[in-house]
Structures are given as structure tokens and as C-alpha cells.
Symmetry: C2
Subunit: 434 residues, 2 copies
């Protein structure tokens, strides 16, 4: 990474790590400031970053070297695929040194500069740093702001932004004011162009992503998986209620798009919403292949080895003639890219698909995501922010069966977390950080 | 489009039209020079493009106006989605005029400049123009080259390349020397970013893409579709022969990657090749849903309406619980993107999937692609070039059943186009232009 403080470098780094990890590309963040914190365990003031402060310079250089060493070790010894070195790298000399050291160790460098002269963005980033950086724990907001501004001034004295002429030998992506302008130099591999494409679709406009499973289906009632069943009576109730919940909770609800799969149960769930709709084959439920239409009990009896293998590694297990969670993630990739680009949108889809979408926004590890509980008859609101995503779950208060199968059994949960009998919707909200 | 003559504008335009059309995004090319040819039906000499030639200026402006009018009409009356106006648009004043006219008619302009100061690329483009442009039919190569060079000089006198400062209010993508550097300004929609991503992956290094279906399978012998059967005896012979054919015909064959689907018959076909292999779920055969494992005869009997509906519109028809050709195209999109980025590669996959890949490279219309004949036991070589793709088919001369079902029947072809008995491989080659 390249750029002054408060240019969103860490935010962009986190997004890339989350996106590539979700795609099973082994990616890791190496933050120079966290190595500096190991070296120098007190909260530094801005003076620490004064280029003329010889004492702190040694510490800063040491932290930088440690981070680079860690990158090289991880790439070569642990088969890492993409390492992100989150530092400032503001001078040409520094960047050339970093590039050379990496190349000497068979690591291909790609620089990603966040250049930003839009004061509104910088101010908003300063507020984020103040609330999230360990350097400002226990400090007042005004202290933190002044300190960051002084730190920025120190860096500005020797900042050399990347440019097509002077840096033409380096592979780089330069973002100007998030992505209102982008300059790309010498990008050749597919992976590098994917990263550029991803960043191109990011935006920081506040928005919500709304998610819901289809209403309870006939197959849900019978405990069968897959198929293309109609909604049950209660599922239909949820479809009607969903219209009211959307009017009540979604700002500007008449404008946003509703996305469904090509299966009847999601389209029936969306049927009362007056919004423009898009059907995606990519949102169809995980294909259970030979097990389509069976109950978990039947699968355990007819395919005992498969049943056990799936519990053992649910993310990787591919149903005979069907799909694994990993396969679903691959086909959801264009959906995620378009979701990043979109403003408000409501996605009505299926349990496994929602788990994968949810895992992306929540940064959940692959081995856990297939076990997440996403009950029926619940509207979920995701609010992506710099420091994580705020999830709000709004239960429609319409009973439904549980479709949650616990590991090691073929029984569906009876916790009744859907079958509560309270009077109105129940809303719970929490922030899940990086 | 923006740029001097011989900067590959038409080549890039064609590629984008082909890519988006393949994705079912209604796209059309409007070439200013073809409107100019309507206005002025003789072959012009370079002087025609002299900015001081008042007489020809009127014709050139008229052609430009006609092309823009056609764009607007097509976008608004025929629901076009992406129109490409292939002209030079070298001055800022001209671009602002074009942008304004389009905006006045509710068409959002995105400028795509091909800037090129690499003499090698320009020279190679001049040779392409000479061999493909109607303006030089019947002229000698040296005449054409001199004429194009004079034409370029005229345009250079008033060329104002796009830049981030002066053109900051326009949405644009500027390619510098194909895509060694890219500058992107104010791109907001997902479609625009997709176009940028696509261009980022283009390259003009000479290379071949090799395609093959799996060897004949047990299911092929029984006339069944879908499934995950093993190769037949003859299929296994083809797998062994494929290794020899690759050594014989593929330059640097030890280096290239082999891609297969996740199904056994493609992996068995690749088994004797020593190359690095990649398995893609996205290369799996079109999912026949409820019809998986049936013969066409059985489908015609058990699902007569579906059988007829599929023949009626094979591209759109989605098998119950399965896929349509359109669905396959959607999931193949990442494969195409990675194929564009790759150099030599061999893809071993299935009939419907190969038809879709083939349709992309051959620019075949959607209604025709599901009916293309791609026989078993044939290695296909595609050579993408500026003016089209050269296809070479190398038949392995190992008999196999035909899997080609003619429209309106449930019988498989008996033309024996695979079951010939000649001694060696049979090679046929032809160029299919844009």
C-alpha cells in the first residue's frame, strides 16, 4: 500500500483480504503499524513520525523490515498467495527498495496507492481512525484529530505520489479519491486485474443490503432438501408480511431492486413487492445432486459415507452430481461484485447461498460459514462500514420449521428460534468487525 | 472511441461487441467510416482527411452526424444497451459535442481512447488495416501504408489526447499501448467497470487456444445425456492419442495448462497429459435436471412438451431443475475472462460448454450456437487474430458415436463424420471473421 495517513489504506486492504479469502485465495494482511507497536509499546505522538526524529526513525524502519520479512516468510514457507503490506511507502526510494527485496525473494510486487485530496473523505477517514486505532485508545477526539493532522503534515513533506512516467517500471494501481479516477500501470496477471476490477466496484456511499430466505416451503415442512416446491401456507403469510416489513423498515423502499433465484419459492416470496425484480440462476440453492428431494434422515441411511464426509468438511464436500459450498462461492462471485457496486438492494434466496453471501460481508471463516444459523421468516439488514458490518435481524414473527441441521445428527433443530409467539417483529442488532 | 488511425480502435470495438453480445447484452457497432462510405462512395486518398479540405470536411461531418443519429435511434427505439461509436473523436471540442448530443437523448457517454506511441504496435496495426479495410481494396501494400501514414499526420495536427485534468468531467477509459497503462475516470456503473475489466485482460501476444471434448463415454454409447460416466474403450484410446497429438501439434506443449471440468470423463481424457491441470466446476456439462441420464428418445416420450420447447428455442430453454445455454454462458464468463488473459491453454470439456466457448470466439449468434457440430475425438485449435479467429480441426481418426441431435428428431446423427477410417489425423482449417 502507498499513501498518506487517513487515505483509507487499511480499509481497502481489509476489503481485499476479505474478498480474496472468501474466494479461497490465501491472503493475509501485514500491517507495519502493528509491527511498530511490538517494537515500541507506548502510544506514539505525531512527533514520532517526524522524518527528522532520528530515534523513532530506527524503530519505524525496524517495523517496516520486520513486516517485509514476515511477508516473505509467509509467501515462501506457508504458500501464501497474496500478502498485503499495509504501510505508507510514500517515497520513490522506499518503494524501489521494497520492490527489490520482494523480487529477490520471488515475490511479485504490485503497488496500490490511495491518493486523496478530497477533504471530505479525509475528514471522515480521520474520524474512523480515531475510533478504531489502538494508537488513540483513551484519547479525546480533538487530541486524536490534531495528532493525525500533524502526522499527515510530516508525511506530506516527503510524499512522492506515484505517476505513469516516474514509476513506469513498477506494477501499480493508483486510486484517486476512492475510485473516481484510477490509474493502472503494467498489470498483466488475471489475479491483479481481478483486484483492480474489485476496487473499481467499491464505493463508500452509505447503504443497506437486505437479505431474506424464501418463506417456508412445502419441502421445508416435509424436511426435504432441494427441489422446486411452492410456499407453505405460513410461507405465503411471510411473503405478504415481507411487503409490510419492507415499507416499514426500508428507506426509499420503492426504488430498490429485488433479486431472487430462478426457483419458485423465492419468486413467490417476492410476489407482493412492487419493486423491479431480477432473477439470477447464480442465486439458486446449493445443488444437492443425488440427494435432491431427500430428507437428512434418508441421506444418512442411503448415503452414510457421504453423510459423514459432509459433516466432516461441509465447505469442501460436493454432493454426488451436485455442489459444495466452495462451488456456490465461485458462482456467487459476480453477485458479490454487483452487490459491492449497488446501493440498496434486497436479495431473496436460499439457506446455503445466504450463508455464503453472509460469510463474505461478515468475514466468517470457511469452515464455519456452512454452520451459520439463518432462520426462515427473518429479514436481515447489513450495513457495511469502515470497521465492519452492522447486522440487524428483524423476525417476522410468523412460525416456521427450523431447517438447521446440527453437526453429527440428521435431526433438524427444535430450538424454536423461529417459532416464537411474540406480538410484533423482534429486532436485534450488532457490529461484527474485521 | 477516441484515437488516431491505426490504434486498434476497431479491433477493441469488435472485441467488446462480441463479449457483450455473447453475454446477451444488446450491443452494436456504429462505424463512422462505413457511414462515410455511404456518403462518398469512392475510395478516398489521405487528402480527404486533411483538416483544411473544406469539401471533404462536410462529408466527414455528415457521416459522423449520421452515425450518432443511428446510435440514438437504436438506443431509444430498439432498446439497445451498449452502442459503440467507432470514430476518431480526436478533439476536445468534438468529444464535448458528442457527449452533449448523447446526453440530450438520454444516452450516457463513456469515452474509450486508444493511445499508442509504441511504433511496433502501430506498424502492425497498419498492416492489418491494409489487409482488411474496404478503403484499400485493390491497392498495393506500399500505397496503403503511405496513405495511412499521411492520414495519421493529418489527424495528429489537431489530436488532443484525453487527460485526467482537462477531461475530468467525462467518463472515460484511456488505454496506453493496448493495456500496458490504463487511466480510468468517473466510472460508476457495474457495466462500465465490466468493460474496463474485460479490456484489462486483452492481449495481442500470438497464442493458440486448444479445445477438445472428452473421449467417447459409456453414456455416449448408450445415447444417454448428462451423468458422470467413465470413458468407453474408444474414449480411452482417444485419451492416449491426445497425448501424441499434443506433442505433435502444440508448440511448447510441456508448458501449457490443461483445464478440465469436475466430471470423470474429462479428467480421464486428460490423464495421460503431463501438463499442470486445473479442474473447473464452471466447465461441467449443461445440467439436464430431470432429464439427466435419459436418452433423447426417453425425453421425447416422458416430457414431450419440454422436448418440443427445447427444439423451438434451444438457447433459452431451461431443463426442469437444470440449465439453459444462457445459464451456461453466464457461468462461463470467468472462464472467458481468464482465457483472454492466458497464453496457450487446452480446455477439455463437454459438448454444450464447448459450443458456448466456441460461440464466443467465433462470434456465432445465440440461436445458432446450440446447434453447432463439435464432434467427439477432434482437437480444435483457435488462433485469435485482429480480423477474426482461425479454426483448425484435427480429427484423431478414432471412431466414436455421433452425439449430434438434429432439430425436430430424437435421433442422433449418423453422418459418420467421426467414424471415418482414414490412416492419419485429418486437418481442416479456415478463418471466420467478425
Amino acid at each position: 500500500m502507498v499513501g498518506l495517513p487517513a487515505r483509507g489504506k487499511s480499509f481497502i486492504s481489509y476489503k481485499i483480504v476479505r474478498y480474496l479469502s472468501w474466494l479461497s485465495i490465501k491472503t493475509k494482511l501485514f500491517s507495519v503499524s502493528s509491527y511498530r507497536r511490538e517494537e515500541y509499546q507506548v502510544q506514539p505522538t505525531a512527533d514520532f513520525f517526524d522524518p527528522n526524529n532520528e530515534e523513532s526513525k530506527i524503530i519505524r524502519e525496524q517495523a517496516n523490515e520486520d513486516a517485509i520479512k514476515a511477508v516473505i516468510q509467509w509467501m515462501n514457507d506457508e504458500n501464501g498467495c497474496v500478502a498485503i503490506l499495509d504501510g505508507s511507502n510514500v517515497t520513490r526510494q522506499k518503494r524501489e527498495m521494497v520492490a527489490q527485496v520482494l523480487k529477490d525473494h520471488y515475490v511479485e510486487p504490485l503497488f496500490l496507492e490511495s491518493f486523496c485530496d478530497d477533504e471530505t473523505i479525509v475528514k471522515s477517514n480521520i474520524l474512523d481512525i480515531n475510533s478504531t486505532s489502538p494508537d488513540y485508545v483513551g484519547k479525546s477526539q480533538s487530541y486524536a484529530q490534531d495528532d493525525i493532522l500533524t502526522k499527515i503534515k510530516y508525511y506530506e513533506t516527503h510524499y512522492e505520489p506515484m505517476d505513469l512516467e516516474a514509476d513506469k517500471n513498477l506494477s501499480f494501481i493508483k486510486l484517486i479519491n476512492i475510485n473516481s479516477q484510477i490509474i493502472i500501470n503494467k498489470i498483466e496477471s488475471y489475479l491483479e486485474s481481478r483486484i483492480a476490477f474489485y476496487i473499481m466496484n467499491l464505493h463508500i456511499k452509505p447503504r443497506y443490503i437486505w437479505l431474506s430466505r424464501h418463506g417456508e416451503s412445502q419441502y421445508n415442512l416435509e424436511g426435504k432438501i432441494g427441489g422446486d416446491a411452492d410456499l407453505s401456507e405460513r410461507g405465503m403469510q411471510y411473503a405478504r408480511k415481507l411487503k409490510d416489513m419492507v415499507s416499514k423498515y426500508v428507506p426509499n423502499h420503492e426504488k430498490f431492486e429485488v433479486w431472487t433465484s430462478t426457483l419458485r419459492r423465492t419468486q413467490q416470496t417476492a410476489q407482493f413487492l412492487p419493486n423491479p425484480k431480477k432473477q439470477w440462476k447464480a442465486l439458486d440453492e446449493l445443488d444437492a445432486g443425488s440427494c435432491d428431494g431427500l430428507t437428512y434422515q434418508e441421506i444418512a441411511e442411503q448415503f452414510p459415507d457421504d453423510f459423514a464426509a459432509r459433516d466432516e468438511n461441509k465447505f469442501e464436500y460436493r454432493y454426488r452430481g451436485g455442489e459444495s459450498y466452495r462451488d456456490v462461492v465461485q458462482r456467487l462471485e459476480p453477485i458479490i461484485m454487483e452487490l459491492e457496486n449497488q446501493e440498496n438492494v434486497l436479495v431473496i434466496t436460499h439457506q446455503a447461498v445466504l450463508r455464503c453471501i453472509y460469510a463474505y460481508f461478515m468475514n466468517s471463516p470457511q469452515e464455519k460459514s456452512p454452520w451459520m444459523s439463518i432462520p426462515l421468516h427473518t429479514l436481515i439488514r447489513l450495513e457495511p462500514r469502515a470497521d465492519g458490518t452492522i447486522v440487524t435481524r428483524i423476525k417476522a414473527n410468523i412460525p416456521a420449521v427450523s431447517t438447521y441441521k446440527e453437526k453429527g445428527t440428521s435431526k433438524l433443530g427444535e430450538s424454536g428460534n423461529d417459532a416464537h409467539t411474540m406480538a410484533g417483529e423482534v429486532i436485534t442488532s450488532d457490529l461484527q468487525g474485521h
